[in-house]
């Protein structure tokens, strides 16, 4: 089992893969790092050189976007619809770092304010912004796993800051994943045996900003609920990530059959 670690998406990333050739394993790790960095750069909310930044700071409301951007946005709009807006890249992007004038901005913080037709992205206004924060890292994990599978790897783990995908086994056993206690980072509340699927956890306890002594979670929820953390297993990391985020915003959402809740902390 070869292990590679690197930093991307402002988090630690880890690959573990079974290979009989160290050179092949290193080449695959380099390829995955290249794509992770490319995605991080292209879809950064803050990087002035990213395609996303250019779109968010547009001077016209109809723009030509890259094929990959169009595909990502298609995915985002799909998830916005099936989660009844609980997962919404426009809400995340438009309300990001906004702590006042919510009522004025909220009508523009919706995927309903944009549409994608081929490579043409059209906004209904100049205020709506996009944040792919809840999508791109998960997309990168799935893409990494695809790269490994394309190369014939049958046992591997991809872990980008807790967004995890696995195939095959870890030295003959199912992959063993510990879900951290949000109240005690030194303890796991559960150990999940994972096989050919992905696991993502969303919560308010780790990623937040503190402004004037008050905590603001990285996940925006307009209606408060008691859910502190939720972990989801799904066939793809995008699915697991999106649904864990959406459920944190709205725990009453009805889940598709292929999405499973494996842990909840109230």
């Amino acid at each position: 089992m070869y292990t590679h670690k690197f930093e991307a998406f402002t988090t630690l990333c880890e690959l573990q893969l079974e290979s009989d050739c160290e050179l092949s394993a290193n080449i695959l790790a380099d390829d995955i790092l290249f794509h992770a960095k490319r995605l991080e750069t292209n879809y950064s909310y803050f990087n002035e050189n990213s395609e996303l930044y250019q779109i968010n700071h547009r001077d016209q409301n109809s723009l030509h976007v890259s094929d990959e951007f169009a595909g990502l946005l298609q995915l985002a709009l799909f998830y916005s619809e099936i989660t009844n807006g609980a997962f919404d890249v426009a809400m995340a992007g438009t309300l990001k770092d906004k702590r006042e004038n919510y009522e004025v901005i909220i009508p523009f913080a919706s995927s309903a304010c944009m549409k994608i037709d081929g490579n043409i992205l059209t906004f209904s206004n100049s205020i709506t912004k996009i944040d792919f924060g809840g999508l791109v890292k998960e997309y990168a994990v799935d893409q990494s796993m695809l790269i490994l599978q394309l190369a014939g790897i049958t046992s591997a783990l991809v872990n980008f800051g807790g967004d995890i995908a696995v195939i095959g086994t870890c030295e003959g056993e199912k992959w063993s994943i510990g879900i951290q206690d949000p109240l005690n980072e030194h303890e796991n509340i559960e150990i999940i045996k994972l096989e050919a699927s992905s696991l993502c956890t969303s919560g308010h306890s780790k990623r937040y900003k503190e402004i004037d002594g008050k905590r603001f979670s990285h996940i925006i929820t307009l209606e408060k609920n008691d859910l502190k953390q939720i972990s989801i297993i799904a066939p793809t990391t995008i699915d697991a990530g999106v649904w864990s985020t959406a459920l944190l915003a709205n725990p009453e959402l009805q889940l598709p059959n292929h999405i499973k809740i494996v842990s909840k902390v109230l």
Partner: protein
């Protein structure tokens, strides 16, 4: 060995008695990747794109730089297409009531 799944930016690897941990098998068939069809599609793509430059079989024989430079454009599009197919397949197979919303083009 247990990998930690956390919501935070940093994480630690911990050693636990993983063989003895309670493991009511939460995994169900529906939640797993469709590895059979997925691998088949991946194999086909690999033949078309990934190995086409090298002439070798079974391994990626190019240097990382060559590999990424020559294949990035095609493989990025193909990877996205494969991913979307995989996602759509999961929703189709689960009999999702949201099928009317599935307007993704893989």
């Amino acid at each position: 060995m247990t990998i930690n799944n956390t919501t935070q930016a940093s994480y630690t690897r911990v050693n636990t008695q993983s063989q003895n941990t309670s493991s009511a098998n939460t995994q169900q068939v529906a939640t797993t990747r469709d590895t059979a069809s997925f691998s088949e599609a991946a194999k086909q793509l690999a033949q078309e794109h990934v190995h086409s430059q090298s002439g070798a079989s079974g391994t990626w024989s190019q240097s990382p730089a060559q590999s990424t430079q020559q294949n990035t454009q095609a493989s990025t599009t193909d990877l996205q297409s494969l991913l979307m197919k995989s996602i759509l397949s999961a929703y189709s197979n689960s009999g999702s009531q949201n099928s009317k919303s599935m307007n993704l083009t893989a």
